[in-house]
Symmetry: C2
Subunit: 306 residues, 2 copies
């Protein structure tokens, strides 16, 4: 049943991360042809922003070492945004050479994660992103800035809101068009989400430049999303079938499943353009390729129906 | 991090259903001693309302055929409410004979589920409950009225709000002290939840007599709970470890896991009196007894931590 709730947006743009954030966490690399079919099926299900791959050095993420082979396979997807993650200028060069028009950089709100994930301080990582963002913008590309560990950090514990706001503003000052606020270890709850969004607003960050990226490690992703929607956020990251997650969280469950999100948005009468049946079939197919069931509750429930 | 959100209650009473609603869905009956230990551990973790068992005919629910043996084992739990489900006057007699002071009846908002589950029309089931509620009240017992299929029904589809309100009012008119609104197949979304709560309010049902009972079949239970809390609801049903569910929903996941609920409420600074660590240890222990992992994301995540 389609019943709107007061104070929520009429339309949400889903930023689909399964093909990149999901598959980069697989133990064994998925064949390029399977990735290409996955992304084509996601587009056919109505997703219009599909993060395709990462131009990081193959030594660090061997699962996505086929970015050069995969990206050209997606050239026929008219009207679908295909952002790619780039860690540095070398990655940007590779992405731009293949015609990428949307790129993303991956920052951290905490020093410990910056050190462990980027081998740099937060300030050093921002300095590394500066020419990446500038050159991407010069080339006409749209730039997304991921900000991880926005709520909690496995080493530092709760992350102060003002610290997140400071790095968020720095990313926007570099020229990022959009931010994605990541709850990388899945510990956030709705009050914390609203507090961060409120402080970002006070600091002059427009809500339409903010996306939210929640993890379902403790089952909180959808209620946090609901809180963010109530604040006016209209860009939500999700992963088809719930693929991926954070290896540091030591749990089977990671990203918010796109299907669980679409179930809620459909029920609320919020437009996404996504066909849930086609999407669920895609995730069920991908789960077969990976040889294990999807952690998405909606995928499981709909797949068990006759 | 403990960050309140505006418009939510300061305290929530969790109505723990795992020992009854959870264990009645197990293929093989759990030994009485294990049930008793489970309930004692739930009480030690701070739960103050623990639905203990059901006095239904053993032919229908053989998993709870030991109600007469189990209930006296719980006599030492001072200050803990131990409601029991009774289907009819015979069940009430058995419960009252053992000193039960809180009983629950189990109604349906739809004709099809009433027919399949109770072998009666909705009107006939209300007529059956009438002397049960009256005699329980005469004996000083507190009576909860479960209302299942409040949002969707597997045979009838979406359930009209006015139909639910009509049966809800009838249960209160019989003398029920409290209602539990069940999303038995887990299809509800927050707008639908608010619409039903709003109509109940319009019909004169006080919010403090309403509990909500959401299922996580499609991952929606916690966001629906958040919506209900925003409406002022302060009684939430949940099942330790996410035990149980509805056999008609054909999915591995059913009841909202108490741990996932407590994680959210703790984060929001909403008091429950529950110790999440002790509760998670209890559910991990119960999962071992049952020989399969808990479907609760919080239990899984916390159990994977060193």
């Amino acid at each position: 049943m389609n019943v709107p709730a007061p104070g929520l947006p009429a339309r949400v743009r889903i930023h689909e991360v399964g093909a990149r954030d999901g598959l980069q966490n697989e133990k064994t690399a998925v064949p390029t042809a399977v990735k290409a079919e996955f992304i084509h099926r996601l587009a056919a299900a109505g997703l219009t922003t599909i993060e395709a791959t990462s131009f990081v050095h193959p030594k660090w993420v061997p699962q996505l070492a086929d970015a050069e082979q995969l990206f050209p396979e997606l050239g026929d997807l008219a009207g679908v945004h295909l952002p790619v993650l780039v860690p540095n200028e070398r990655g940007l060069d590779r992405a731009l050479a293949l015609g990428a028009t949307r790129i993303a950089v991956f920052g951290s709100a905490t020093e410990t994660f910056a050190s462990r994930n980027l081998n740099r301080t937060v300030a050093e990582s921002l300095a590394m992103f500066e020419p990446v963002v500038a050159r991407a913008k010069e080339g006409g590309a749209h730039v997304r800035g991921y900000l991880s560990m926005c709520f909690g950090d496995p080493w530092e514990g709760p992350v102060p809101v003002h610290q997140v706001v400071r790095v968020a503003k720095a990313l926007l000052d570099l020229g990022c068009d959009e931010l994605s606020l990541g709850d990388t270890i899945g510990v956030a709850t709705p009050g914390h989400v609203l507090a961060l969004l409120g402080e970002l607003g006070e600091a002059g960050v427009p809500t339409d430049r903010i996306g939210v990226h929640f993890h379902d490690t403790y089952g909180q992703a959808l209620s946090n999303t609901l809180a963010a929607l109530g604040h006016g956020v209209t860009t939500v990251d999700a992963s088809a079938g719930g693929l991926g997650g954070c290896p540091y969280a030591k749990s089977a469950t990671g990203n918010l499943a796109t299907e669980d999100l679409v179930w809620m948005l459909d029920g609320l009468g919020i437009e996404t353009g996504v066909d849930l049946t086609a999407l669920t079939a895609t995730s069920a197919w991908m789960a077969e390729q990976l040889g294990r069931p999807s952690p998405s509750r909606t995928v499981r429930a709909l797949s068990h129906k006759e």
